[in-house]
Symmetry: C2
Subunit: 149 residues, 2 copies
DNA sequence: CCTTGTTAGTTACAAAAACAACTATTAGCA
DNA sequence: TGCTAATAGTTGTTTTTGTAACTAACAAGG
């Protein structure tokens, strides 16, 4: 039987990645949830606007690979809390620019700082040379497209 | 300002891991969902039973880090489809052993095979020496516990 | 025994996600 | 212009998840 020997499903990459993602992120999730009252999608929208500046909802969706309905609700919630402003574009009145308010920017900066520290702690016991390999691989896996059906 | 320069949130490890997990696993998810009609938790329960043999619900939960309510529902669904059998333990009649039926085992084997091929394809364009580093890091991140509050 | 506490698993209800259908606006083109 | 198609974003409905409360079984000490 020409089967590769002892492939263990606990080493199945998508599973391994999921586990690593959940476990490594759980502690940080409590920060933006409990301390800042943000949902995960809201935190992601916030950090994309904070990191890359004003942009449209669709653009966030493309960058972060989030479905537009999730974005829509996250944006609505962030706006209600006065963390961002929306302004209709003139050249195309379907779309609107999203910009963080001063409060939103402040929250972003605090969370970004926390994220950075958290990240450092996560990487603490991984040798420097392995870190580059890790993030490199992850970036490649992020765009992995296999059999395009 | 003593801030570490240019930390980009798109390199924030939990985010990166999540993205990589979702993107790299999406194609495989369609297999167990569309072709086998399984939910993600169901697939995980199936593969733990297939990989490690008969065990109790709690044990699956501990190994796979899945909450017991999710396990409970997945098990109920798998049983209804005759993919597993449950038998009460005699020495402790609260718990029950879960065992794959013949059909369940067959499905597991097919999916395990598919997973293995999928995994190989995913790793195809990652140099062999980097693969070891990647999986090693992921295993460590899986058990990452920071500030134990 | 009988109380108290713990554990295995289920169920009920609330929160969040997935999916589909919708409005409003623009673009292409006959 | 006026028709069709496409796009930005929203809303409504159904699944799935998360949280908490629950039942049943055990365990340990009085």
């Amino acid at each position: 039987m020409p089967q590769m020997p002892d492939f263990c499903l606990t080493d199945f990459l998508p599973y391994l990645l999921n586990r690593a993602a959940e476990e490594s992120g759980a502690e940080f999730a409590r920060i933006y949830k409990d301390q800042y009252g943000l949902l995960r999608t809201e935190w992601r929208v916030l950090f994309h606007l904070g990191e890359f500046g004003t942009m449209t909802a669709t653009e966030i969706g493309q960058r972060a690979r989030i479905h537009k309905t999730k974005i829509s609700r996250a944006v609505a919630s962030l706006q209600k809390r006065r963390l961002l402003m929306r302004t209709r574009m003139e050249r195309d009145r379907r779309q609107e620019c999203l910009t963080l308010t001063r409060t939103g920017t402040k929250m972003f900066e605090e969370l970004a700082q926390a994220a950075q520290h958290y990240n450092t702690a996560l990487l603490a016991d991984i040798p420097a040379n392995e870190r580059a390999v890790l993030t490199g691989c992850l970036h490649r896996l992020q765009t992995a497209r296999l059999a395009p059906k």
